[in-house]
Symmetry: C2
Subunit: 336 residues, 2 copies
């Protein structure tokens, strides 16, 4: 039995393995998400379903479920919390689409292009409210406090990101503050809330929070590196979104810092002035590549991977613990 | 003393009287709002303060405070709830500015014009999160549930309004659903939550909810009528926002319904097609005026004013009860 399961896991990514181990609970989360997307106002489920069904790895709700299961939770409130976490994430994506004038999201046409900015803002608000209703139903006010705090931090992170956009003076520290707030805060809160609802001991809650935080940092670092990946482009994956939106991510910070005068001029024009022409993305990828920025980003990701794995070492041995550690490792090599 | 107070109240509107009666608590709400607007990210307080300091009558938090005071509440959680209510309202305004491409809000340049749509969406999200944190601090999960539900209903109402925009087939029922959701739901929840936190009996909670609901309907009906008021225009007040945004409010529904073929053609062009030229607002006001739409809107407002006042008749006599009834009456004659 154990070895059959092990064989199955071998053929899959650790994220797939996590899905398989939590399949019944994830199915319940999916049902709840689809139920709560419902509204007497037809546009709302249409728009929300467009995004929810596009999928993604559902890594955040998986963290909530895994943290609850790791602590032998027997109730059903973790399903509501996981759905709430997914709703916060989906609302953020909808508002991101408005914000960044992006046209592709998860490989589908962005909701704002199909339905207009207005709808994306309002349906995002709706999902955000729904997420709070789910938290209320989960019935634990300290968990609610953690997720409400995370929501505020995410919004702060997104605002901070606006200030770093077009701004080549952005420091590594500022960049880390942005990704810590806009991405890692929800990963951390997702894992922490699963442990809290299971009444785990304080040090276990802190271990899972730390794991989520570091995993979120890894996830975003690799995401930012992949956006300048020539290999991704060869595989037909969409890249260059950050470049087009003039986001100042770690690859840009490093490449700009190490550039000669021609290179600096290039980054000033394309990022600071936002004046981009055909062929610029290719040049940007080349500059990033030769600067060693990808290696520096990966090295930092490995540092946070280690921190994520070490955080879990404090927990008792468990197949789920091992899988979560594998997920952290996998995210460095390739995250989605 | 009583007569001195009565004389003071005479010179003021009932909303001013309500402010005077709840002055220490409103001062505490204001302090809390300004404290919680704070963020290490500088743009956030700048943008939020722009809107919060523009003022408005703060009618919604006043309802929460009044409902708590009416029920002899002795704690401090109502301050947090009132601030949460004001934050929900402010977040809605910020997202409305994005949504409707409006350029004026409370007589000041709309935040999105100064700071960009991106910032308005994200700072709205931040304030929305902050409102939930305040509710968590208030510590009553059933009150939290009421306000989370109201937030979802508001978003639904705004989406529904998108569907009625440019749509002359909008019925009176659909219009009432929109204003009930986008405006009256928060008035109702604001009053209800104040009664709940004070552990008022169920029938008192229901009476205050009903009062808030009907007052919200009155408020929005009169707001929508004033947007076509030639008198307002003469007084130098901004009008015509709804017309420019092609919102189908009750004045438009009635005026269109009673128009001759030339009139219908006018509404089709300006509202359905959104093709508006100079002089059209003046024509719209004339059509609305001669159709008797303002009288019908005011009559409906008086109906809801009566319902609001009757709801409060169930409560024991109290100076605040009287003032709330005066507010409902005042809102029909002139609401801001």
């Amino acid at each position: 039995m154990q070895s059959a399961e092990a064989r199955i896991l071998d053929r899959r990514s650790p994220i797939d393995a996590l899905h398989a181990m939590l399949a019944p609970e994830m199915a319940a989360v999916d049902r709840l998400v689809h139920e709560r997307i419902g509204s007497a106002v037809p546009l709302i489920p249409d728009l929300a379903r467009h995004l929810v069904d596009a999928g993604g790895k559902r890594l955040r709700p998986l963290l909530t479920l895994a943290a609850a299961r790791l602590n032998a939770y027997r109730g059903t409130a973790h399903i509501r919390l996981a759905a709430a976490v997914e709703f916060i994430h989906t609302a953020t994506l909808l508002h991101d689409d408005v914000v960044d004038v992006s046209t592709l999201r998860r490989g589908k046409i962005a909701a704002n292009v199909v339905w207009g900015n207005k709808s994306s803002v309002l349906v995002g608000d709706y999902l955000f409210s729904r997420s709070f209703q789910l938290m209320v139903e989960a019935g634990d006010i300290s968990v609610l406090s953690v997720l409400a705090q995370a929501s505020a931090v995410i919004a702060e992170g997104e605002v901070l990101q606006l200030r770093t956009t077009h701004n080549l003076a952005t420091t590594r520290d500022e960049y880390l503050r942005v990704i810590s707030a806009k991405t890692a805060a929800l990963f951390a809160a997702a894992a922490k809330s699963g442990a809290m609802i299971a009444s785990a001991p304080a040090e276990t809650i802190e271990a899972l929070r730390a794991y989520g935080h570091h995993l979120g940092i890894v996830f975003q670092l690799i995401d930012d590196a992949l956006d300048y990946s020539g290999r991704q482009a060869q595989m037909g994956k969409s890249i260059g979104d950050d470049f087009r939106e003039a986001k100042v991510t770690l690859p840009v910070i490093v490449a700009h810092e190490r550039a000669n005068e021609t290179g600096r001029e290039f980054w000033r024009r394309t990022i600071e002035d936002g004046a981009q022409h055909e062929g610029d993305l290719k040049r940007a990828i080349a500059y990033v590549d030769e600067s060693g920025a990808i290696e520096e980003t990966q090295a930092l990701a490995r540092f946070h991977m280690d921190a994520a794995m070490t955080a879990l070492d404090r927990l008792p041995p468990h197949q789920l613990r091992k899988t979560l550690q594998d997920v952290a490792e996998f995210c460095v090599s390739r995250c989605y």
